[in-house]
Structures are given as structure tokens and as C-alpha cells.
Point group: C2
């Protein structure tokens, strides 16, 4: 039955993919001719009407009409989300795979297959992985998920290390990789001499950004010790400030003939604006949310909405002022979490947590899926030398960076990182969709834009597949300190339940006694208690 | 403190309204000049980038930039939703008002105020109450909310009456009002002789549609007996089939010179297609959802998503084929509810219910709010005679219809409707946003389109305010049979909890005993039990 279900699901998923590939017009515009076997009558005024309408020449009232363009956008979004959800179900039905292959790899693979199908029928992918859609709609839920469920105490115990790796580590990687690649560009054999230093630095910034989505999806399956987990996790979230500033700076500088020293100083100033501004907005909106939930006692059904609205506002306002939106939303979530969970009802609390997890999960699924789709459908420019050296340098500089930075930070740590931890830190630095989206936002006046996009995709696929699949066996092999967390959780949960049930017993006896007393004076109670056959 | 909070909230809401009215460009397009006190540098390529960028002429790296157009859409949506939520909080803080004035009236009033503010600063309202946005995004959550929480047993016990009122009642109203208005149009003094019979019938169809949103928001506060509640409620939901067919038919016919008998026959055929097709799709997707949730044991975090996706797909597919989408989504919710709630986890179940309520609540709030805003900002064409007679005929024909139809259906009912129930039925027939949206979808070739829109708004405002506010005192005055529902619910809930706690007790003792046995062999348990000081 299990095997059959598995086949069934794969068949259903594949059929779905094939069916889905049909109704896509070019880049989501209204297709010239909707598909389907029905005689479709073109709609006349009004287009917004609840039904399409025949031409006046047709004599009789139509009994059966179809109007696809009107519902196209929500319909296709719903179908893609449903397809991604089926893929998730499918993976978990075939359980053995998810033990060794991270879900991110599976999703990218499915995306590659779907992309191949769409490419073969000459369909355009849905115009959804534009940078705007990614940064404004797909990334916030994931970051909110990460921020809301971040373990607070381990985070603040390691905040120095986190910021050290996030800021200095990203700088180290960007500049190191950028300059190495520039050195490689000087070699005539590779044919990339037209890429100047600034462009190399810009590209290096894009691929230095360790991606929270990719890292999370791998580290959740591999139970490393909390120190390691929180440092990698925190680094992903907080390197956004540095990435934003460096990207800005190198983009700006790439277009300028002369770089003045004051610009470097302004760059440093901008880093503080971006980082502290992001945190400031996050705290502001976090406190606003906490304050608002004091007054929601009579509107319990919309309580979760405030949490989502305030977090999203923090993100958008940070985007508005071009400061680190990831830091804003993470800080907002961190700030408001405990106040909100005290103020809202139990149901709202459950709903908030579940909806955040749900949105984060489906966003992550869609991102990897579309990563696979767009990989096939984008025009690539391949250059063996540049791309292979990119992979090499990314790997080498990450490793060197972790080694050097750990040596410097270890004396300040209560629990120093041993070599095995450092391996985990270095090897766990996966790149993902943020690099991808940043690559797509490269301005068109950069000559080798396609090469950069191809190289970014290459490094993402490499880290997610090779490092993502191999990290678990390697960590088990070298015996990195594992977490006690799971065991602790069971203990905690058992004792919480014991306490709950104890309290219930007391209330039950108290209550039952009250009812028995009341029952002698109230017929309805007697009738109903009688039903209980107590 | 309470009074101060109330003032504070009103002040905050008003300030918010004023602030919000500023950044609106014309119909949501990119404003030519973003407001704000910062020096805004126009963005250059790439527009999609994570930050805006200065021109190349500027020498130094900008430390502070702003890019509003990029985030405009999600930002404004979020702000409007937040404003609507604050309005809801505000109403409930000032609790006495909501006892006598339904929330719908308050929201329309706030909308009128905001509309007036926007009009005075010559801002366009956000282009959100287009019919497409209303029918595709704002209506489905409300109807899903209604359908998902519809009491099943009372509904099926009254299904005959519901369908009788929904179908025949709506027909009666449409044709009656239409023909009466046509008779009025013949009187020269009113100056509306150019409106022919078909246009009158079309307009009558629009305003005959009793609106679920308006009715629910009033009947929830007034605890009438279930029979009355379920018939009015069911009628609102299921008259959609008739409204769709009639609207189609009269719209089509209004453009045709000759109406053939076969068209009337096709109209009847279309009614069956629309009604049964809607229910068919609903049942199909409902079973698909029920089936899918059998396999979601390993993906608990995205379980609620399936419910929303399938319901929305049922709605969209029905819209695609121009059949009754409201019936589709209600039937889908009815079909899948019990299967789904058995299959999903407890948390998912809570989340689903809460999110449905949340989305329905906020959609309803937004609809009434925008109804108020657009009332001010639309161009009106007033005609005293036509509009007053519209109000009169709507009222009279509704009353007559209820009387006549009840006389016919009462012999078939177990609990016949007495005259007081009939009053509730007739008086509770409020019109709302569905009529409004349908009015906006009238084709432009109808000469008196503006008059129809103005008349529709007039009747909505009249029924929601006059009937909505007066229905509660009138029902109490004439002493309509009230519900026992609330008392029954408390009983049911108490006994459910008694049962739960009983079960917990047994498990607790059993469990505790197991642990004590295990404790002798396991140190960890002893340590932790010791902590409990048991």
C-alpha cells in the first residue's frame, strides 16, 4: 500500500507538472488563445463581470462559457503552491530519501524536471522569480519563521561570535574571493579579462552571502550542538547588513571612474545606518505589536493578523529606506514574541506559530522549486575557468575565514570551537536563493551579467547538493558534538504535561463537586449528567 | 483609563486616516514625486534591486535613500488592513456602541469619513474595489467562513425552505421590482423614460441579492431562533446561483433586439448548470481535500494550506466556467469539513478554524470600509423619484414575497413560520457589497449606469443602517422566538470538558504509575521528578 501510494503520488505529481505547464502564457500575460476543449467565446464588456459574455451577434443565451484570463493570476499561484505542497507530501511518503538527501535538493531536482518539461514545450516560466517578488513576498515569511523560532538564550550567549562571523566573515569572503577572481581574470586563457576589479568584488559579494534558507533546511536534519547551530544560523541572518552595504558600494563604485577615500568612510557609515537602522525599526515595530495586543481582548479572531502585519511592515519600511530588512524583521520577531504570546489567547498563539511555520515552509519550498525551474529556462553563459575557480575560491576562502576568525574569537568564548566545530561552520556555509536573487538584480550595464548569473547558480547547486548531501555523513564520521536538545525536549514536554494533568485533576474534582451541588437544584444538569453514565 | 484609551484610539485612528491619505498616487500608480522630507534620489537600474541607487553624476556614496514605488503595493495593502483592524479594536473598546449599532454601520461610517478626507485632498481611492479584486480576493474568505461554520444539521433540516426562498424568492423580487420600476419609468415627471424593461430587470436583479456579509454581521448580534437564522443565512448563500443566471440573462437580453422563447428555456437550463455545476465542483474539491489530508501526517505544518488551496480552487474554477462560485466554495467547505477535521492534527484544526475566521473577519471589515470610501469618491447621478421608488419597491416586494412564499411552504415545514418569524425574514433581507460590486460590473453601454450605481449604494446604505440598526429593538419588541443556542452550547462545552478531564485523570494515574516504575531504573527520571516536589 505504501509502495503503491508512493507510485501514485509520483504519477500524480508528474501529471500535475505536465498539466501545469500548459496554461502558462508568456511571462504571465494573457495568453492569446486559452487552452481547453470548450468553445471559448471571447469576453465583451464588462471584462470585470462575474461572467464572460458572448458577442451580440450570437443569437442564443450561452449555457457554457469560459473566461480564463480573469482568474489567471490567483489560479496559477494556487496551482503552483499546491504542486509544491504535493511535492513535500511525496518526499515524506518515500521516507528513506529525506534521511540522506535534504529536501532542498529534492525540490531543486523537481524544479529542474518541471523546467525541462516547460522548456521542451516552449513555455515561459511564470514571471514569479523576479527579484521584487522574491524580496517582497517570498523571503519575508522565511526570515520571520527563522526569527520567531530562534532560541533566544543561546543566541544572546553567542551574539558576539555571531556578529563577528556575520560582519568580518562576510567582508573577508567578499574581498578575498573578489581579489582572487580578479587575479584569475588576468590570465588570458580564460577569456574573462574584461571583468574589472569592482565587478569581481560585486560578484564575490553576491556569492559570499551564506543563505539562511539553505542552511536551515540542512541543519535541521543534522542535529549538531547548539553553539554551532546558532552561530551558523545567526550568521546567515545577520550578514544581510554587510551584504546590502557591500552590494550597494560595489555596484555604485563599479559605475564610477574614481573612488575617493570619503566613499570608503561613507561605506562604513552606511553599514552602521543599515545595521542599526534595521534593528531600530525592528524594535520599534516589535514594541508596537506588543502594545497593540494589549487591546485585542475583544477581537480575538484577528489577533494573529497584527503580528503578521507589524512584522511585514517592519520589513517593508526597512526596504523603503534601503536598510537591512532581514535584520528588521528578525529583530521585530525577537522583540515582540514574548509580549505577544502573553497577551493573546491560547488559540491565537497556536495559530500564529502554525501560520508562521506554514508560510515559511511553503515559501522555502517554492523558492527551491523555482530555483530549479529558472535554472533550466535562463540563458546561460558558461566559462569553465571562471566558474571552477569561483567554486574553489568560495570553498577555500570560507574555510580559511572560519579558521582565522575562530582563532581570534575563541579566547573570548566560554565554549571554544574545536576543529570539528570549525569544519561544521565552514562546510555548512551553503549559498542559496538570496545569492540567486541578488544576481538577477545586477544592472544590465555589467557586461558579463549572464556569466555571473550562471556562476551563481553553479555555486548554489554545488553547495546545496554536494555539501548539503555530504554534510550529514561527514559530521557523523568526524563525530562533531551533537545536541542534547531532542532528549531535553522530551523530558520538558513530559513534565509539562504532568503538570497540566495534575492541575486538571484538581480542577476536575473541584468542578465535579460544584456540579453535584448544583445538580440538586437544576434539572437540566441532572438529565445531562445522567447521560454520562457516571 | 478606559475613557482615555478610547480617546487615544480614536485619535490614533483619525491620525492614521489622515496620514494614509497622503501617499496614494492616482489609482495606485507610481506617484510622480514621492512625498516625504528626505532628499529622494531617483532610482536607476536596477529598479528591482534591493536598494535604490543614485545617478552616476553624484560623487559620493549615498548614506540614506528612499524607494517608495517598489514597495508601494504590499505596503498600502498592509496599511489598509492594519487601519481596518484598528477600527475593529476601536469599536470594541467603546463597547456600548456595538450593542446597538452593527459593526457594518460603524465601518461604513469610518469609510465615509476617510473617503471625505481623501476627497478633500483630491486623492484617488486605492484601486482595490474593482470588481475583480472584490470577487476574486475579498469575497471568497467571507463565503468560506460562512460555509465552514454553517451548522450542518439545521441546514439540512431546512434545505427545502432555503432553496425555496433562494430561488423563487429572488426570482419574485427581481421580476417584481423590475416591472414596478419600469412602470414608474413611464411617468414623465421622473425623467427616466430612457430606461427600458430589460435594464430595469437587470438593475432589479442586482438589488434583489440579499447579501451574506451584511446579514451575518447583523444576525450574529441578534439571537433569533435557528430556523429563522438558517433560512436567511442559507438564502443569502444560495441565491447566488439565481443572481448569476438572471444577471447574465438580462445583461445579454438588454443588448439583443429580439428575445426568443428558446432563450428563456436556455435560461432555465443555465440555472441548473450554474447551480448544480457549482455544487458539483464544490463536492469534487471537497473530496479532493478530504483525500489529500489522509497523507499529510508527515507535513503537519502545511496541512491548513490544503484546505485553503482547495476551497479557493473550487471558487476559481467555478468563476472560470461562469457558474456559481459562492455555491462551489460553500459546498466544498461543507463537504470537506468533517473529514478534514478528523484527519489533521489538533493544532492544524485550531489553525484552520482561526485563520478562516480571521480572513473572513478582515475581508468583511475591508469591504464595508471601502464601501464607505467609494461612496464618497464615486460620481453620483441622483434621481429622487427613481431612487425613492427603488427603496419602496425593494421593501414592499421583499415583504410580499416572504408572506406569499411562507404561506406556500409552511404546510411542508415541521416548525411553521409564524408572523413574527416572517417579519424577521423579510426585515432581515439586507443588501450589501455583492450588489455594489455587481453594479460596478454593469457594462458601459447602459446609459444610466451611474444612476444604477447611485441607487444601489442608496439601497445598501438604507438597509444596512436603517434596517440593521432597528432590527434588534424591533425583534425584541415583537418578541420573535429567540434561540436556546447559547445555553445549549455552554452545556455541551461543559460536558465535553468533563469527559476530557475524566480521560486525562485515568491516563494520568496510569502514566504516573508507569513513570514511578521506570524511575527505579532510570536516574534521569528520578532527578526530574524530584524537581516537581511531588
Amino acid at each position: 500500500m505504501e509502495y503503491f501510494s508512493n507510485i501514485k503520488w509520483r504519477a500524480i505529481s508528474l501529471t500535475f507538472c505536465i498539466v501545469l505547464s500548459f496554461p502558462h502564457g508568456s511571462s504571465g500575460e494573457i495568453p492569446p488563445k486559452p487552452t481547453g476543449s470548450v468553445t471559448v467565446l471571447p469576453p465583451i464588456k464588462p471584462n470585470d463581470g462575474p461572467q464572460a459574455f458572448p458577442d451580440a451577434e450570437k443569437e442564443n443565451l450561452p449555457v457554457f462559457t469560459m473566461d480564463y484570463p480573469r482568474i489567471q493570476i490567483p489560479f496559477e499561484i494556487t496551482l503552483w503552491v499546491l504542486l509544491a505542497s504535493f511535492a513535500k507530501i511525496g518526499f515524506h511518503v518515500y521516507h528513506k530519501i529525506t534521511v540522506w538527501v535534504p529536501e532542498s535538493c529534492l525540490l531543486i531536482s523537481i524544479g529542474l524536471i518541471v523546467g525541462a518539461i516547460m522548456h521542451s514545450v516552449h513555455e515561459e516560466p511564470p514571471a514569479v522569480l523576479t527579484s521584487n517578488v522574491f524580496f517582497l513576498y517570498m523571503l519575508p515569511p522565511i526570515v520571520l519563521d527563522s526569527g520567531y523560532f530562534m532560541p533566544i538564550r543561546p543566541f544572546f550567549e553567542n551574539v558576539g561570535t555571531v556578529l563577528w562571523f556575520a560582519v568580518v566573515g562576510t567582508l573577508w569572503n567578499s574581498i578575498g574571493i573578489g581579489m582572487s577572481l580578479f587575479a584569475i581574470c588576468q590570465i588570458e586563457a580564460f577569456g574573462v579579462q574584461d571583468i574589472n576589479l569592482q565587478e569581481n568584488l560585486l560578484f564575490a559579494t553576491i556569492i559570499s552571502a551564506v543563505d539562511p534558507v539553505a542552511v536551515l533546511s540542512v541543519f535541521e536534519d543534522v542535529s549538531v550542538n547548539e553553539q554551532l547551530y546558532i552561530v551558523v544560523f545567526g550568521e546567515c541572518l545577520f550578514n544581510d547588513a554587510v551584504t546590502v552595504v557591500l552590494y550597494n558600494m560595489f555596484n555604485f563604485v563599479a559605475e564610477m571612474p574614481v573612488v575617493e577615500p570619503v566613499d570608503v568612510f561613507l561605506g562604513v557609515a552606511r553599514f552602521f545606518v543599515v545595521g542599526l537602522g534595521g534593528m531600530g525599526f525592528g524594535v520599534l515595530f516589535g514594541f508596537a505589536a506588543a502594545f497593540t495586543t494589549r487591546f485585542t481582548a475583544n477581537v480575538r479572531e484577528i489577533e494573529p493578523l497584527f503580528i503578521f502585519m507589524y512584522s511585514y511592515l517592519a520589513y517593508l519600511v526597512a526596504e523603503l529606506f534601503a536598510i537591512s530588512s532581514i535584520m528588521a524583521i528578525v529583530t521585530c520577531a525577537l522583540t515582540m514574541k514574548y509580549y505577544v504570546e502573553e497577551n493573546v489567547s491560547q488559540r491565537s498563539c497556536t495559530t500564529i506559530r502554525h501560520v508562521i511555520k506554514m508560510l515559511g515552509s511553503i515559501s522555502e519550498t517554492l523558492i527551491f522549486f523555482f530555483l530549479g525551474v529558472v535554472t533550466i529556462t535562463t540563458e546561460h553563459e558558461w566559462n569553465w575557468g571562471y566558474i571552477l575557480f569561483t567554486l574553489l575560491f568560495a570553498f577555500v576562502w570560507r574555510g580559511l575565514g572560519v579558521l582565522v576568525l575562530t582563532q581570534i574569537i575563541n579566547p573570548f568564548r566560554t565554549i571554544p570551537f574545536n576543529l570539528k566545530d570549525q569544519f561544521g561552520l565552514g562546510y555548512g556555509g551553503l549559498r542559496g536563493a538570496i545569492s540567486f536573487a541578488l544576481a538577477f538584480t545586477l544592472p544590465d550595464n555589467i557586461g558579463r551579467r549572464q556569466l555571473f548569473i550562471t556562476a551563481t547558480i553553479a555555486i548554489i547547486i554545488f553547495t546545496v547538493f554536494i555539501q548539503g548531501i555530504s554534510i550529514r555523513p561527514l559530521i557523523e564520521f568526524i563525530n562533531v558534538r551533537r545536541t542534547n536538545r531532542n532528549l531535553g525536549t522530551i523530558n520538558v514536554e513530559v513534565h509539562c504535561r504532568l503538570m497540566e494533568h495534575t492541575i486538571f485533576i484538581f480542577f476536575f474534582f473541584f468542578y465535579f463537586e460544584m456540579q453535584l451541588t448544583a445538580a440538586t437544584t437544576n434539572n437540566i444538569w441532572l438529565e445531562n449528567i445522567g447521560e454520562l453514565h457516571f
